[in-house]
Amino acid sequence: MDAHDHLITAPHLDAPDDFYEALIEAHRGLDTAQSQALNARLVLLLANHIGSSAVLREALQAARDSA
């Protein structure tokens, strides 16, 4: 059983500002369609790393709810 079977939404990033800058930088030079594609790939990569279906479902719901 995964130790993290709930989505963590308390601060958990090692270096929030460093990550945020790297994320924006990853999109440098991309047009809208390319950025969307990159985001889609990133979501899939990170989702696989997380693994837990329960956590992923919570994340999908949280993203929808925060609009």
Partner: protein
């Protein structure tokens, strides 16, 4: 409302008299050890610090007035601690509006609140707000008390020639030009530095494609003394707003306008007034909705983050905005400039006294270039969040704000400014690397953190006020402390002035008692341990069992003697 306003000097109206200098009648250029150009907060702080260290200074300013408009208003704790050492801290804090808390709003809701000084046991607040003209006025009055400072108003530098042993300045005054020589020339002449241009140097960096209206508004409003930042509020849709309380019932409001705004139009009162009215009308306090106000000053700015490649060019040194510029979100401009001045003053004084080689000034450049990079990084990140530079950046920015309403992790990503903290000079060449294990943040290169103390006879005190003008050794009280203190003082003799401050728990026999345990906790100072502080109150070495040889080696290192 400040009822003493009528008795206060109007620093925006003060005019300083031009005086002819005897240098202007000299057949050959007079040589001075130090000439500082620019009597703003950085030049004045540097001159005062040098004079307090016994060094004569000539300070030139091309004008005869202080700043108009509030400009740099947020002065950080470290800067206040420097001002304490310069003899102006109490005045600044007395007049300024102290604050620790900030709130961030998205649309019409608060998403985030932060406390910049969550722990007790510090004399100074995280920030004070004080108009730049007060800061300059108080510094100028302090400088006038120091006979070693010769302040020449309306002496404008028109030319700089650099030589091996000095710089020659051509100076223009209302009654003629003259030349003067400086063994060391320090340019504190701001973002449009003439000295920088005259020696053929430039700053490099980037400009943010945005415009901000900065206004001083006098109004009887009761918003608390907190920094309030709005992203996309209903009263200024699609843009950001920043609100700060200042002394004298004046509020500072920054409105983001966007790149397409017309600066000349936006500065007009008829365009500013509706913006302020909209902000007040949105207030939850009915009394504020129709509050009266007057506009005191306004300007439209475009921000840049940039710096010179090197802050030392032979005999010429750069400090403050002449060396580096940042966008204001985070208040890292004037604060880092005053920290530059503190870093430089003791080094220049030591070099001129013959206590250190002029290579020590290379450490000024290296340390403050590093600090400037940290300030530029943080200011850039904040400005990118406030002014996203691409569509995708805006998408992520808005996603962070949306998530921040409910989720704690997103609040750490919200960036309306990473407020100024002094850089820890971790990789400074003047540091002695730790050979012993210590916990906490007082690593070599860290600025000393304050702590409450009590004297042996019960008087309260603050650690930073007890530090010497030269080096200071904090020594943990214990059975060996008195003997160790004597040995260490003797080891420093002839090399550097050293104050030994013995600190410890009640009953330890220390001259100053760490009553709340803050020193032990913050410095990991145990009985027998020692922490060596530079004259600018930065840690440069620490040991569990210090000995004379280790101390001498560390002092030589801190003076660039080895």
């Amino acid at each position: 409302m400040d009822t003493a306003v009528a008795n206060t000097v109007d620093y925006q109206s003060v005019v300083f008299p031009y005086r002819r200098s005897p240098d202007q009648d000299s057949a050959t250029p007079v040589r001075h050890p130090v000439v500082v150009v620019g009597a703003g907060p950085v030049g004045l702080s540097l001159a005062i610090d040098l004079a307090q260290r016994g060094q004569r200074v000539v300070l030139l300013d091309n004008d005869d007035r202080l700043s108009t408009g509030s400009r740099a208003i947020c002065f950080a704790k470290r800067t206040l601690e420097i001002f304490d050492r310069l003899g102006v801290g109490e005045r600044m804090v007395g007049k300024g509006v102290s604050w620790n808390l900030g709130r961030v709003f998205f649309h019409d809701q608060q998403v985030y609140e932060f406390d910049l000084l969550p722990e007790h046991g510090h004399e100074r607040p995280a920030f004070i707000n004080l108009q730049q003209y007060y800061v300059e006025g108080y510094l100028a009055e302090r400088a006038a008390q120091l006979p070693l400072i010769e302040l020449r108003w309306k002496h404008k530098v028109m030319g700089v020639e650099t030589h091996g042993e000095h710089a020659r300045l051509s100076v223009e005054t209302p009654d003629g030009s003259y030349s003067v020589d400086a063994q060391w020339l320090v340019a504190c002449d701001g973002s449009r530095s003439s000295v920088r241009q005259l020696i053929g140097q430039e700053s490099h960096g980037r400009t943010f494609k945005d415009r901000f209206l900065i206004a001083d508004v006098r109004m009887a409003a009761d918003f608390p003394a907190e920094r309030w930042f709005w992203f996309d509020p209903p009263f200024h849709p699609g843009q950001s707003v920043l609100l700060h309380r200042q002394p004298d019932g004046v509020w500072r409001i920054d409105f983001q306008l966007g790149w397409d705004a017309n600066p000349d139009e936006e500065k007009k009162p008829e365009h500013i007034i509706p913006r302020v009215k909209a902000l007040l009308a949105a207030s939850s306090n009915p009394a504020l909705r129709d509050a009266e106000f007057t506009l005191e000053w306004a300007s439209v700015y475009t921000f840049s983050c940039l710096r010179m490649d090197a802050f030392r060019h032979g005999r010429v040194l750069f400090a403050g905005d002449s060396a580096h510029g940042v966008s204001p979100f985070g208040a890292r401009g004037a604060n880092s400039g005053v920290q530059d001045a503190e870093n430089l003053a003791w080094k220049l004084a030591a070099v001129l006294r013959g206590a250190a080689p002029d290579a020590l000034l290379d450490s000024y450049a290296a340390e403050r270039e590093y600090a400037a990079d940290e300030n530029i990084l943080n200011s850039t990140r904040a400005t990118d969040f406030i002014t996203p530079k691409s569509e995708i950046s805006r998408v992520f920015r808005d996603a962070v704000l949306q998530l921040s309403r409910q989720h704690g992790f997103a609040r750490t990503l919200v960036n309306s400014g990473r407020l100024s903290v002094p850089a820890t000079l971790r990789s400074s060449a003047l540091n002695t690397p730790d050979r012993d294990a210590f916990a906490g943040r007082m690593v070599p290169g860290a600025p000393a953190v304050d702590a409450p103390l009590r004297s042996a006879d019960g008087q309260p005190g603050w650690l930073l006020h007890l530090l010497g003008d030269g080096f200071t050794l904090l020594l943990g009280a214990g059975p060996e402390a008195a003997r160790a203190a004597d040995e260490l003082r003797a080891a420093a003799a002839g090399l550097a002035p050293l104050t030994v401050l013995t600190l410890g728990a009640p009953g330890s026999g220390a001259a100053w008692i760490d009553a709340d345990g803050c020193v032990a906790q913050r410095y990991d100072l145990q009985p027998g341990s020692a922490v060596l502080l530079r004259p600018d109150q930065h840690v440069c070495a620490r040991w569990r069992r210090p000995d004379g040889d280790a101390l001498r080696t560390a002092l030589r290192h801190a003076l660039a003697l080895s």
